[in-house]
């Protein structure tokens, strides 16, 4: 359970990145499947070569922005459809990731990673201390993103996704904004990959496969519950969504599904989060949500989320052995 929350808070970095493209720019960016691994690979190789983990993570972020830049250029200057531009970069990154690592897997056992450092502080994996530290860090990131979106530049970015024609008529190059958004987004995704590699103790060529779905699930589930009235709420919702996603996986595993079913559960979760709010009974709940404050949002959202989780759990084979903490971690490797 604790590990699930821990993972949720880590993957929230990536989810915020996905939020920037998917919600702010209205651009479904598939680059993330590749740039996540690129981040993990870059950080792992640097850490193995005795670079400090903070520098390694900064490098991962930088490499991620380059991946975003390429997708952005393909889309804006090359006039390639956004989905296709993302897929092209993602596929190309697969080879680049292998080049970076030199092999399919780079272990980090016994290296000076961020999590090894945390352990020396008494915050080992699965402890509440580590959860508290991760929560503090992700909130700092959230506030930085909130602040950025409230600046002149950030507001132009928001307007680019909202009404492109209009913001051009006020002198903003929407091409430049899209590129900027993609760079920031993929930088965060790569940073998340770097953190995940350190948390699980290795970087792997397949660690990013299907990741876009995890990101979308976090954004969609979180915002279905908390709404998007302001940027403050929207980014908070993304973090909550990332944790809920991990908890859903955890409960599904506890209920007897195995790690190979994870992608299916992710997809079912996203479909549920997209369909349920359209049904009458949930729309009524949605109405309540809008009328009251943020706190009751969660209360009203609770019963909405419960059936979604319950169905994925209940459909599981009843007698199967329950998997314990750490299994959700395996799910990612699968």
């Amino acid at each position: 359970m604790n590990t699930a929350i821990e993972l949720g808070l880590i993957y929230a970095i990536m989810a915020i990145g996905v939020y920037l493209t998917f919600r702010i720019l209205d651009f479904p960016d598939l680059t993330v499947d590749g740039s996540f691994t690129t981040g993990g690979a870059t950080a792992a190789v640097l850490i193995v070569n005795d670079v400090h983990f903070i520098l390694a993570m900064a490098a991962a972020f930088a490499v991620g922005t380059v991946a975003g830049l390429i997708t952005g250029l393909l889309h804006t200057k090359g006039n390639i459809n956004g989905l296709l531009a993302g897929i092209l970069t993602m596929i190309a990154l697969y080879s680049i990731n292998l080049r970076i690592m030199g092999k399919a897997n780079v272990p980090l056992l016994g290296e000076d990673t961020a999590f090894a450092f945390m352990r020396t502080l008494g915050a080992s994996s699965g402890s509440w201390a580590l959860i508290a530290i991760l929560l503090a860090l992700i909130l700092v990131l959230k506030f930085i993103v909130d602040w950025f979106l409230s600046t002149d530049l950030g507001l132009s970015l928001q307007a680019t996704g909202d009404n492109e024609e209009m913001i051009r008529s006020f002198g903003v190059s929407t091409d430049r904004m899209k590129i900027l958004g993609l760079m920031l987004s993929n930088g965060l995704v790569a940073l998340c990959g770097a953190v995940v590699a350190q948390q699980q103790g290795f970087a792997d060529i397949s660690m990013g496969i299907g990741l876009i779905l995890v990101g979308l699930a976090s954004v969609i589930v979180g915002q279905a519950l908390l709404g998007t009235r302001t940027v403050f709420i929207a980014t908070l919702a993304v973090i909550v969504g990332a944790v809920i996603y991990r908890l859903a996986i955890y409960f599904a595993l506890t209920a007897g599904l195995n790690a190979n079913d994870m992608k299916l559960i992710s997809a079912v979760l996203v479909v549920a989060a997209l369909l349920l709010p359209q049904w009458k009974i949930f729309r009524k709940l949605g109405g309540l949500r809008r009328d009251r404050g943020v706190v009751s949002d969660i209360a009203a959202g609770g019963p909405q989320a419960a059936p979604a989780l319950a169905t994925s759990g209940a459909s599981a084979a009843p007698a199967a052995e329950s998997t314990r903490t750490g299994s959700s971690q395996e799910a990612d490797r699968a």
Partner: protein, 263 residues
């Protein structure tokens, strides 16, 4: 202030769909000119506006704004000089952002957009004052998302935003056409007020001949990519809708005769 010289624009050249949208347009606007543009569908009115705004690049000819050649500049690069209100009330504002955020987007026209707060205390006061001019009470709803406003309110806001940071040219593309008569009258009135206050050089496309005669100091009529009638202040005064229709029929008739002769 605005000079269009020998502008030609052909869509889908060398195909069966070839359409000559603009055929040698010459148009000079003096500072403070308020020109209304009328003409039937496909006459080239919107193409002229899009050419001035930079949405379209002419095949030949030059566009000069305030003696600066802007022909090669893209729309967002010209935005510093050109304010624009579209026909669709949804087009001129950002629906998911608040009124004050929309004002901020407009306020930064022609300035760098960096990392300063988009809506700070000083700016909020500035926007509050500016919104009062509309007399719609929007200044008390600055944190409302623009998507929740009515079409008339959004169009009035679009107009304010288009003129907020002092453009040199104002382009109005049938901006009252989608509104009910009452709202249309309100937005027209606001338009005249804003244009007079800032002495803006304005091009206004309209389908409403009465409106075209009523506002502005100059009227041009377009037909098949050409300017076929150009009435200045004196000539325009006293003209009626019937006169305009008569002129139009006369020119169209003459042209038909030409065509018949050529065949």
């Amino acid at each position: 202030m605005l000079e269009l010289t020998d502008i030609h624009k052909t869509f889908f050249p060398n195909t069966v769909n070839e359409r000559r949208a603009l055929v040698g347009i010459d148009l000079h606007l003096a500072p403070g000119d308020f020109v209304t543009v009328i003409g039937s569908n496909g006459a080239g009115k919107s193409t002229v506006l899009n050419t001035v705004a930079g949405k379209l690049t002419p095949d030949t000819g030059t566009v000069r704004i305030d003696d600066k050649d802007v022909t090669g500049l893209k729309d967002f690069q010209r935005a510093e000089f050109v304010g624009r209100v579209f026909q669709d009330p949804m087009a001129g504002t950002s629906p998911n952002l608040t009124i004050e955020q929309n004002m901020s987007l407009a306020g930064r026209r022609g300035k760098t957009r960096g990392l300063s707060l988009s809506v700070g205390k000083a700016r909020r006061e500035e926007y509050h004052e500016a919104l009062k001019v509309l007399e719609l009470g929007l200044e008390n709803r600055m944190k409302t998302k623009v998507g929740l406003l009515s079409g008339g309110q959004r169009q009035a806001l679009s107009l304010l935003m288009a003129t907020f940071s002092g453009p040199k040219i104002l382009l109005l593309d049938e901006h009252t056409a989608a509104l009910d008569p009452q709202r249309a009258a309100l937005v027209t009135e606001l338009t005249q007020k804003v244009v007079a206050d800032q002495n803006l050089t304005t091009l206004m496309v309209t389908h409403n001949m009465a409106q075209a005669l009523e506002v502005g100091n100059r009227l041009i009529m377009m037909h098949e990519g050409r300017i076929i009638l150009d009435l200045h202040e004196e000539e325009k005064r006293g003209k009626t809708v019937e006169d305009l229709l008569g002129e139009f029929a006369k020119i169209k008739g003459a042209e038909l005769d030409d065509k018949a002769l050529l065949q």
